[in-house]
Each structure stands twice: as structure tokens, then as C-alpha cells.
């Protein structure tokens, strides 16, 4: 799910208010926007880009690597199925409040075709200095100065804060992977962690989790075997149990999905869990410095 400046992007729902605003922002940043879709305005140009009726029509005309959806909740199922059918390999679904039965349907279809779905309810993907897909402030150099820290986050706003804190501390961002706040999503924390582990531009990872579900526990199993340092923050330590805190996925039922459980699992895997996001940069700086020292010593031997 790591994108770069060569990734050709189709903006589904490009003519809407948000689609228009963010398509322009993405293009200005350097994202290869190929065009967009709106069944009612096929054949027109919008932002001086071609508009097709469907993803299928778009891929008939151009090479498209990824689709990003600015589509209302009840239109998401058809739009994603259209993009899968069109042979698009990566689909970023920003929409919040997609019925979960629809999400499960498109994830099953995507799995069969080997398609990567990010979201629903994600803020998108950023590869700093190159490209972004979604609605992250990639163009803000205080938040996304290029560097070598990978960030995975369920939340866009909190992910933004963590990137900003890293940059304030003198570090920089390689890639940001927003996975989304819904209870069932195409790309999990662990999937993102694996991708950042494989990414040659990433030296360390900031893992931003939330109470609810078991994704952080599963990511911890993978983190245990990583050599790249990982620091984490888990939101929701002060949230009352049984209440849905904004994100549909963020709810603690009994012991399952609790802050304590996630913290323990990550710590057992050697991940340092910071009590506030502001603490992440120091943890990563120390870990990277330690690695460098060890690296130098072993090279000297």
C-alpha cells in the first residue's frame, strides 16, 4: 500500500465539493491524477481532467494504479466493485459510515482478485515529498517533511499530530498509512506494519492505535520479529468502557480491545508504548541512535 510519484490515480466522485478540493491539492503536490468519474458527467472535463462514467471506462482509456473514493456511504459498494472489475489494484476508501455488510462484500470481492483496499473511513496514504491519496495535509512541510519514519494510524487527525511531532523533533516521514477507523477494514495495522518493514525508505515505525478490536495485538506479533524500531501510542486509555468513541471501531467490550491489553501485547513484543503522542519522537530517536551505535561497533569488529 506504499505509493510513489509514478502511481496513477483515479478520483471517483471528482466533481463533488470534496472531490474537487482534494483532487486539486493532490495534483498540486505531485500526485499523478489521471482523471475522475461521475456517471452523470461522462465525457466532460473537470479541473482540466477527463471525467468517465465508471472506473471500467477509465481503465479502458488510461493506465490506472489506484482509485480514491469521494463517494457517499450507500454508493461505496457499487463504486468499489466497479474499480475492482476495472482491474485497479489499489482502492482507497475515505468514506465514513459505510454499512459493514457492504464493506464485507467488497472486501470478499477484492480478496478474490488480489486487490488491496485501504479503509473505509481512512484519511489516506502519503509518501512524503512525492505523492498523496486522500485528505491528509501532505503539502504542509511542518507535518510531512520527508525523512525515514513510517507512520501507521487508524485516525487521520491523530496521525497528523504524530507526523507533526516527529517533524518538530527533527525527524521526517517516509510514508504514512491511514488504515481507517471502522471495525472491519481492508488493510489492518499489521498489514501496514509489514509494508513499512519491507519499505527501503523506512528506518523506524510509529504505530498509532486505538482501543477496540484486536488489530494492535496482531501487529504486536509481527513487531516482535522486526529489526526496525517501533514506537506506539494507543488512543482511548481514558475512554469509558462500552461507549462508542466517535470511531465505530473504538469500543471496549469487557476485556477485549482494552488499552491495557494492547499496551501489554506491544510491550511484550519490545515496542515502547508512549503515554502521549508527543513522546514518540524521543523513543524512536533513542532507538535509532542505539541501532547506529551497535551497527558501528559490529562494523569495527
Amino acid at each position: 500500500m506504499i505509493i510513489d510519484r509514478s502511481t496513477g490515480v483515479l478520483v471517483m466522485g471528482i466533481t463533488g465539493k470534496q472531490g474537487t478540493f482534494w483532487a486539486e491539492k493532490m495534483r498540486d503536490y505531485g500526485t499523478q491524477i489521471v482523471g475522475g468519474t461521475n456517471p452523470k458527467r461522462a465525457g466532460e472535463r473537470h479541473l482540466d481532467l477527463p471525467v468517465w462514467a465508471s472506473a471500467k471506462d477509465a481503465t479502458g482509456a488510461r493506465k490506472i494504479d489506484a482509485a480514491v473514493l469521494f463517494i457517499p456511504p450507500f454508493g461505496v459498494k457499487d463504486a468499489v466493485l466497479d474499480a475492482i472489475d476495472a482491474g485497479i489494484g489499489k482502492i482507497v476508501c475515505l468514506t465514513e459510515h459505510v454499512p459493514v455488510h457492504d464493506t464485507m462484500y467488497v472486501l470478499a470481492a477484492a480478496r478474490e482478485r488480489g486487490v488491496r483496499i485501504v479503509g473505509p473511513n481512512t484519511a489516506g496514504l502519503v509518501t512524503a515529498g512525492q505523492t498523496f491519496v486522500g485528505f491528509m495535509p501532505a503539502f504542509n512541510p511542518r507535518v510531512f517533511r520527508p525523512g525515514d519514519i513510517g507512520v501507521v494510524s487508524r485516525s487521520g487527525s491523530l496521525g497528523t499530530l504524530v507526523c507533526l511531532n516527529l517533524v518538530q523533533a527533527g525527524l521526517g516521514i517516509s510514508s504514512f498509512v491511514g488504515i481507517g477507523g471502522d471495525p472491519i477494514i481492508g488493510t489492518t495495522t499489521r498489514d501496514a506494519l509489514e509494508a513499512l518493514d519491507r519499505d527501503p525508505n523506512t528506518k523506524a515505525v510509529a504505530l498509532v492505535g486505538e482501543i477496540g478490536g484486536t488489530m494492535e495485538e496482531s501487529a504486536a506479533e509481527y513487531a516482535a520479529g522486526m529489526t526496525k524500531p517501533v514506537a506506539a501510542f494507543i488512543a482511548g486509555a481514558a475512554s469509558p468502557p462500552g461507549k462508542k468513541m466517535g470511531h465505530a471501531g473504538a469500543i471496549v467490550m469487557g476485556k477485549k480491545g482494552s488499552y491495557a491489553g494492547k499496551k501489554a501485547a506491544l510491550e511484550a513484543a519490545g515496542v515502547i508504548v508512549s503515554p502521549t503522542p508527543n513522546g514518540i519522537p524521543d523513543v524512536l530517536k533513542a532507538a535509532l541512535a542505539r541501532q547506529q551505535r551497535v551497527g558501528t561497533t559490529s562494523a569495527q569488529r
Binding site: 470534496q18 456511504p73 450507500f74 465514513e96 459510515h97 459505510v98 454499512p99 459493514v100 455488510h101 464485507m104 462484500y105 472486501l107 470478499a108 470481492a109 480478496r111 484519511a123 485528505f135 491528509m136 495535509p137 504542509n140 511542518r142 507535518v143 487508524r154 485516525s155 487521520g156 487527525s157 491523530l158 496521525g159 497528523t160 499530530l161 507533526l164 511531532n165 518538530q168 477507523g181 471495525p183 472491519i184 481492508g186 498509532v208 486505538e210 482501543i211 478490536g213 484486536t214 488489530m215 488512543a235 482511548g236 486509555a237 481514558a238 475512554s239 469509558p240 461507549k243 468513541m245 466517535g246 470511531h247 465505530a248 473504538a250 469487557g254 503515554p275 502521549t276 503522542p277 508527543n278
Partner: protein, 379 residues
């Protein structure tokens, strides 16, 4: 959205699953009348929570007089914070054996998961923890739906009833789950009667909140969230607002950031007075959001944490500043603003309120907590 038993069971009946003859009563007299009609019965408290039996909310009645007496004791009782306003009076069923069946949205397999156990009646989490072997879970491909032959092959070898009969019921359960956009549809216990019928004695339904707009007819029977007056006002405004006990009012955008701001308030020795996020599509509603937070008299300091990705911090800051200037509350306010629109937003706060926003969230939180603690000591 959760459903009480009496509101959930029609979903099963619509799919052809049998439930006992029953009636709903709000008075002991009405309960007695229903018992008169159906004979020996069970009087069951209607609240959207489990463990009603342990709380004394489910009682057997041999006749109308007993039903009246049980209804009198159960009505008005409080179970897990829910006051019982209605009882379901349901005919007793001659039970041969109790089983468990459910379909739920499973985040791990990312699809519907059918659960079955030949041992029903007990709490399913307890069963999963203590007797995992007794629980069969079968992932269903939502695109193809329920396949009888596959399910039949994966059920345990030993079953208390004919395999075909059980598979047919599970198929009906799956239909009901699919047709109602359920997050969870559970029958516990599912009983085999002494005369060989399968009957759903209890039913739990949770409707996916995101699907409510297309399931309005069903949602009309759901249990509305228990909310305070202020929370109800927040809901009307389209804001996710939860009242808490603390003194630091929190206003942030995005669920993750709002939770984090609350966590930081706790971490630095304070207590948040609310959860209020104005992210997503609601980010332009900063003004009504602020009014909500300030209408709680316990609030001693206000902490504004905006981190703009999709949401524009200048739009949100404009809303907060206008409301602040209009309401003129006698409270200290602390800002930390980053992301989309931050330059304009920070300039506005400086110029119109004469306040310097904090560069680090932690510093803003510490200042707000200190001010709130001082404010509380003063009053």
C-alpha cells in the same frame, strides 16, 4: 443500535423461525391477562442488556396470579442501569435441550461468522473461554450467502436434533441477519422441544448504526441510546458528544485526536468533562459545539486541540472565536492548532483573542489541567 428481546424476535419470525407465543405488558394486570390466554409462562424484563436472569428479571409463572405478582416485582426494577418499563410474558416451552446459534460481523475473517454450540444457555464469552471445543465457527462468504451443504459438513458430528432441521434453522438465521444489516443476531438459548421443534427462547439483535438510514422501519423498534439532555442536544446538532465528570472541557476534531486529548488530560492529572469531536463532515460546527461544552457548569478550563487533515483548522477556529466572543465565558481557554489552515487559524487566535496557541499538545494540556485545578480549588 441494540434491540430488546421483544423487538428483536420479529426479525427471526419474519425469516420463519419459531418463537413462543407471547405478549408485551407494561402493568401487572396486563401481564395477568396475557398469562390467562397463554397458560404457564415466563415473565421477562425487557432491557437491552444480558444477565437479566441473574438480576432477577426473569421468572416462571404457573398461572395468571403468579404472572401478575412477578410482573409487579420486575416492573420498575433496575438492571445494569436500565429501569424496566415492560415485561414480555411468554409461554413456557417443554425443553429437551438448549443450544446456541449466532451470526456476527467478524473483524478477523472480515465477513459474516456463523457460530453454533450444542451447549446453550450460558454466556457465549464464557463458553468461548472455557470450552472452545464446544463452539463451532463457520465463516460465510457474504457474496454467495448461506450454503446448506457446506454448513452441514462443518457442524459437529454429534447433534441433539436431525442435521437437516438444524441447518434449515441456521439458514433462516443467516437470512434474518442479512436482511436486517445486523452486526449481531444471536439465539441463546435455541431449544429443541420435547416434541422435536426448534424454538428461539431469547434473541439479541444489534443493528449496524451505519445502515440505519436504509433500515428505518427496523430502527424504529430499536432502543435509543441512553443520553443526557446535553447529549441529546449534541445529537440533534449532528455532533458526537459524551458528557463526563471532569473539569477540563475538550474540543477537538476527529475521533482519534479527541480520545487522545482526553487521554492526555488524564495523564497530566486532570479529568475531561466531555468527549466532543467535530471532525468528519461536522467540522464547520465549532460554534454550537463550544456552546454545548460550556453549558456544563463543572467546566473550569477549555482545551481546544485541532489537527487539520480533512477538517480545516481555520474554519474551526473561526467558529470557536466567534462563539467565544459572543458568549464571553469567564474561563481560561488554551489552544493547540496544527495542520490544514494552521497559519490563518493561529493568526486569528492571536489577533482576536490575544492568546498564544501552544506548539506542543502536551504543553497546552498541562496548562489547561493546571488552570482547571486552580479553578476547582477556588469554587
Amino acid at each position: 443500535m441494540d434491540f430488546e428481546e421483544h423487538a428483536a424476535k420479529p426479525v427471526l419470525r419474519a425469516a420463519g423461525i419459531a418463537t413462543p407465543d407471547s405478549g408485551l405488558a407494561t402493568t401487572p394486570e396486563a401481564a395477568a391477562e396475557i398469562a390467562q390466554r397463554i397458560g404457564p409462562c415466563v415473565v421477562k424484563a425487557q432491557v437491552p442488556t444480558g444477565k437479566r436472569g441473574k438480576a432477577g428479571g426473569i421468572k416462571l409463572a404457573a398461572n395468571a396470579d403468579e404472572a401478575r405478582a412477578h410482573a409487579a416485582s420486575i416492573l420498575g426494577m433496575s438492571i445494569a442501569g436500565h429501569v424496566v418499563g415492560r415485561v414480555l410474558v411468554e409461554a413456557q416451552v417443554p425443553i429437551a435441550t438448549e443450544m446456541y446459534a449466532a451470526v456476527l460481523n467478524d473483524p478477523v475473517s472480515k465477513g459474516p461468522l456463523l457460530l453454533f454450540s450444542a451447549e446453550g444457555g450460558m454466556d457465549i464469552e464464557e463458553l468461548a473461554a472455557t470450552r472452545p471445543d464446544a463452539l463451532t465457527s463457520i465463516p460465510i462468504d457474504i457474496r454467495h450467502g448461506f450454503k446448506s451443504t457446506e454448513v452441514a459438513a462443518r457442524l459437529p458430528d454429534e447433534l441433539p436434533c436431525p442435521r437437516d432441521q438444524l441447518v434449515a434453522l441456521l439458514g433462516q438465521l443467516y437470512q434474518a441477519y442479512a436482511a436486517s444489516d445486523a452486526e449481531l443476531l444471536e439465539i441463546n438459548p435455541l431449544v429443541l422441544t420435547k416434541d422435536g421443534r426448534l424454538v428461539a427462547l431469547d434473541c439479541k439483535l444489534t443493528l449496524d448504526d451505519s445502515a440505519i438510514p436504509r433500515r428505518q422501519d427496523l430502527a424504529a423498534y430499536g432502543t435509543p441510546d441512553k443520553v443526557t439532555a446535553l447529549e441529546a442536544r449534541g445529537k440533534e446538532l449532528g455532533l458526537k458528544f459524551i458528557e463526563l465528570e471532569g473539569q477540563v472541557g475538550v474540543l477537538a476534531n476527529g475521533a482519534g485526536l479527541t480520545m487522545t486529548t482526553m487521554d492526555a488530560v488524564r495523564h497530566f492529572g486532570g479529568a475531561p468533562s466531555n468527549f466532543l469531536e467535530i471532525g468528519g463532515e461536522s467540522y464547520t460546527k465549532a460554534k454550537p459545539a463550544l456552546e454545548l461544552v460550556l453549558s456544563n457548569p463543572e467546566v473550569k478550563a477549555l482545551l481546544v486541540n485541532f489537527c487539520g487533515a480533512f477538517a480545516r483548522t481555520d474554519v474551526m477556529a473561526e467558529g470557536v472565536i466567534s462563539a467565544w466572543s459572543e458568549l464571553k465565558p469567564d474561563l481560561p481557554i488554551f489552544f493547540t492548532i496544527h495542520g490544514t489552515g494552521e497559519d490563518e487559524a493561529i493568526a486569528m487566535v492571536r489577533e482576536r483573542l490575544g492568546i498564544e496557541p501552544y506548539d506542543l499538545m502536551d504543553d497546552a494540556v498541562k496548562a489547561a489541567v493546571a488552570a482547571a485545578n486552580k479553578g476547582s480549588a477556588r469554587t
